[in-house]
Amino acid sequence: MSATHFVRKQFTWTASWKPLTVIVPSLLFCTLLSADPQPPRRQEQHFKVEAHPVVTIHNPNGLITVKAWTKAEVMVISNRASDNVEVDAEQMGNRVDVSTHAASDNVAPDDMRADYQINVPEDAELQIHNDSGEVNVANVLGDMNVETVAAAVDLEDSAGYVTIKTVGGSFQCTRCAGKLEVSSISGNLRLTDIHSYHVHAQTSTGNILFSGEFLPNGIYRLKNYSGVIEVRFSPADSFDLSATSLKGKVINEASLTPKSHQQHFYSRFGNSLFGTFNAGRAKVELTSFDGTINILKRD
């Protein structure tokens, strides 16, 4: 290679690359400045609250996880599926409202999703609407109302007045106390290790499992149309039982004392069982149209 050729090549490199080291970062900087500023998809917000705060959550689709903690504040971590949805979390007095809404028209269904992780004081009251996805709540002792269409609801260690309504979503409740009212059309209802004095669970085509204590003076009403109702009792339980399946079977493992007076109406039709177990302190009513009712000993 001649000296002339080397110099020309060197000049060519210098002439073509050197300006780029200035231009490219400048362009990038300009691009960043001119871009529409989008909030990050993951956001974390904190709200100081007093005793018994109310937290409302309205979300069309996504995973909502609510856990209690010892701080007197509500923390909302949201994760949007796209920039086409917006998340609002705002405080009004002792209430924190969280909602997801479309940022533009014609948002694709998959984009219309946000997941939440929310921490609340344990005495918080919750109102949750989540059409599809999943709702998980743990250790919240205040009242709560959860409504979904297809979303499953999983509740652990609650103690307040809990009302759950789903269309097709299942419901599972573990170690729940307080008062519990659940209704669904096709969702299965699974109530385990329950320590509640009032349980009213109703589903049309779903199954219902109840395994828990029958507290003295407690009322337990389980009702479905088809599917299985299964109740598990322990030898120490004390309850007055009424079980009727209009077209299905009633299978019973409890040694019941027959009632002195037959129940009116329901005993005239279907397969019915009435009786008292031990002192009959709690009231247990099981009703099915076409399903099987199992009253089984708890392992």
């Binding site: 109302n145 409504e147 269409v149 009302t163 097709g168 209704s183 007076h261 109406f265």
Partner: protein
Amino acid sequence: MATITCKDFMDRLDSWMGGNPPSDAEAHLRNCPDCSNLIEDIKAICSEASSWRVDEIAVPPRIWLSLQSHLEQEGLIHENRPAEAAKSTWFGGWLAALPRPALAGAYLALLIAGAFALSHPINRQTNEAWLAASQDSTLPLRAQLIAEQDSFASFNNANPVVTASLNKNLAIVDNYIALCEKSVQEEPQNEVARDYLYEAYQQKADLLAQMTERGENNR
């Protein structure tokens, strides 16, 4: 006088409510709080239903309260719920749907149907009478629900999972209604079957309200 059992008393209930109480039934009633309570309940509901027939358009608040009390006694609804939680049961869902005229009308018809179903046929003796009474009370409600359903023949929410779930559950409830109607036709005096039928209507109205709400939100 020979005493009779609760079952015997139930067999004599039609005569009792027809104004011809058998003497042994009267004796049983004096000694049986369960049956006595039942008779009181039926009388109260008949009384309320009669007053509804006189003035069905403007239902006074006391009637609503009284009916609510009866439904609570029957275990169909429950009292002392928080304001927001009141929307959570099927009954609460109906209350939430009240602003919509069609569903509100259906709701009123349902309550009237319930009262009629309990009161109307008591003086009649035959299954045909029970069946006719049930049909009289449920047909208007059924027609209103069908009209409501026809008003949004192709429900389509933005979320396909929600759309599929609502449509699937509407089909479940329709099937549930058909089976309950069949059962009521086979055993018109069967209280359980009628309870299930009315509940199925409630569920359908509640579902239609949800679909309407979501359809409107989607537009």
